[in-house]
């Protein structure tokens, strides 16, 4: 294992340890996602719109909001005691720092999604028995895409006074392509269509991931080097 790869894992492991020790942050993000699900259920007319018609949109809007809330915290913990300077003094490339933070963010957002998904099945009475592998693949691909971009943006917004507001304003337009793809593919899978029918969407999501994660890693120095 090369030294950079080890640094990536060390950084991600440090973030996980800190976040699980704090708990409050991650717990709030999970609760937020659960509450969004509940609100969605009541923001429709139950006599005209059935749960299942709304389900894919609900799932993806919840995932998106949950991700934004989680990403907002990503660089806050590097602010105390100028810990981020400590990372910048380490003999690893800026790209390695980006991948370390990305990995930790993927775990956090993945956890929020992992709690949201069963609640979604419960609240919206969806049958995922046949489509679960497909849904998981879509979720992974879409999440990598917007967390990839979101990691760079959250490193930027911590430098501003209203970071919590600035992140969604910058990030949501970039979430549109992965959200369109994920929602469309989820709709088809929930309707019982085979995975082959959403192959095109999966490919689009994968290309988005490759393009934006690469670009983020290449430009991360411009965000962190003062």
């Amino acid at each position: 294992m090369s030294e950079s790869v080890r640094a990536v894992f060390a950084l991600a492991a440090k973030d996980l340890r800190l976040e699980f020790r704090g708990k409050a942050g991650l717990l709030s993000a999970v609760m937020f996602a659960a509450l969004v699900l509940i609100i969605f259920n009541f923001s429709r007319d139950p006599t005209t719109i059935s749960n299942i018609d709304l389900a894919p949109s609900v799932l993806w809007v919840t995932f998106a909001f949950g991700a934004v809330v989680t990403l907002n915290r990503a660089f806050h913990l590097e602010q105390e005691n100028a810990a981020f300077d400590g990372l910048r003094l380490a003999p690893v490339s800026r790209g390695a720092v980006y991948f370390g933070k990305l990995l930790a963010n993927l775990v956090f957002v993945g956890l929020v999604e992992a709690v949201t998904l069963p609640l979604f099945i419960l609240f919206f009475d969806v049958d995922l028995s046949g489509s679960l592998p497909g849904i998981l693949a879509i979720t992974a691909l879409a999440t990598i895409g917007f967390v990839g971009v979101g990691t760079v943006f959250s490193a930027m917004v911590v430098r501003t006074r209203f970071a919590e507001l600035m992140l969604p304003v910058l990030l949501l337009p970039f979430m549109v392509p992965p959200l369109i793809g994920a929602t469309q593919a989820t709709t088809r899978l929930l309707a019982g269509r085979p995975l082959s029918e959403v192959w095109g969407w999966l490919r689009l999501l994968a290309v988005y991931d490759i393009v934006f994660v690469t670009l983020s890693a290449l430009t991360f120095w411009a965000v962190v080097d003062e």
């Binding site: 950084l11 800190l18 005691n81 100028a82 380490a90 080097d225």
Partner: protein, 237 residues
């Protein structure tokens, strides 16, 4: 200068923050065994100079040279040879001291992070507090911990920004002894302080920054008393 080949050098180093220029065209050389004392008023550019030397800031003009080679900000390797003690500890309050040090050792690619952390805790004389939350340490302990973290990778070049802040007399003595040992090991040191009396005997050179330029840069005179009037004159610029 004691050695013809400096470990660390700066040529025409300058830095602006937005429209304001904090450092203008600073040259310096630090060779093995050399200790450069950097003095100056608040805002004279001392901290900026150290951050530029450490690679935390990119210079607006000029360059930093490591073993005669210009340092590029995209090059991560050069940071292996440098350690910076800044005003902040660069550690996380919610991790224990040991966890913080193991993390720092891992980020520096040290072969045995656990051992390196244990050695650093011993050298900081914090054996009792190794597994306490960092946030629970007193200021003096925190400063010793920060020194341990900054130099856990045993760099050849030490950049020290106010190392004696918050230290009581015995701790300050220990830091002085530690600096002497590093000098004997052949390290090159740049040291910023407001209290020159604490380290005068340790240093080999003295520089005074005023408005981002060297007002004085020379081998350290024997007696601080003879230097002080010139220092006061220099910072009045």
């Amino acid at each position: 200068m004691p050695s013809p080949e400096p470990l660390l050098a700066a040529r025409g180093l300058g830095r602006r923050f937005g429209p304001s220029t904090v450092l203008r065209s600073v040259d310096l050389d630090i060779a093995a065994g050399q200790v450069l004392l950097v003095l100056g008023e608040n805002g004279s550019g001392k901290t900026t100079l150290l951050r530029l030397l450490a690679g935390l800031l990119r210079p607006t003009t000029g360059s930093v040279l490591l073993h005669g080679q210009p340092v590029r900000s995209t090059d991560a390797e050069f940071r292996r040879h440098l350690g910076l003690l800044s005003h902040k500890s660069h550690m996380y309050d919610d991790l224990t001291l040991r966890e913080n040090l193991v993390f720092a050792a891992r980020m520096h690619g040290l072969p045995n992070p656990g051992e390196a952390a244990a050695a650093a805790i011993r050298s900081a004389d914090l054996d009792q507090r190794g597994d306490s939350r960092l946030g629970s340490l007193s200021r003096g302990m925190l400063q010793r911990a920060a020194i341990a973290r900054a130099f856990i990778h045993r760099p050849g070049i030490l950049l020290l920004d106010e190392p004696f802040t918050a230290l009581d007399a015995p701790s300050a003595d220990r830091v002085r002894r530690w600096i002497q040992e590093r000098v004997r090991d052949g390290c090159g040191i740049a040291l910023v302080t407001h209290q020159p009396a604490e380290v005068w005997e340790l240093t080999t050179d003295v520089g005074v920054l005023a408005a981002g330029r060297w007002a004085i840069l020379e081998p350290r005179p024997a007696a601080l008393e003879s230097f002080l009037p010139r220092y006061r004159e220099a910072i009045r610029v």
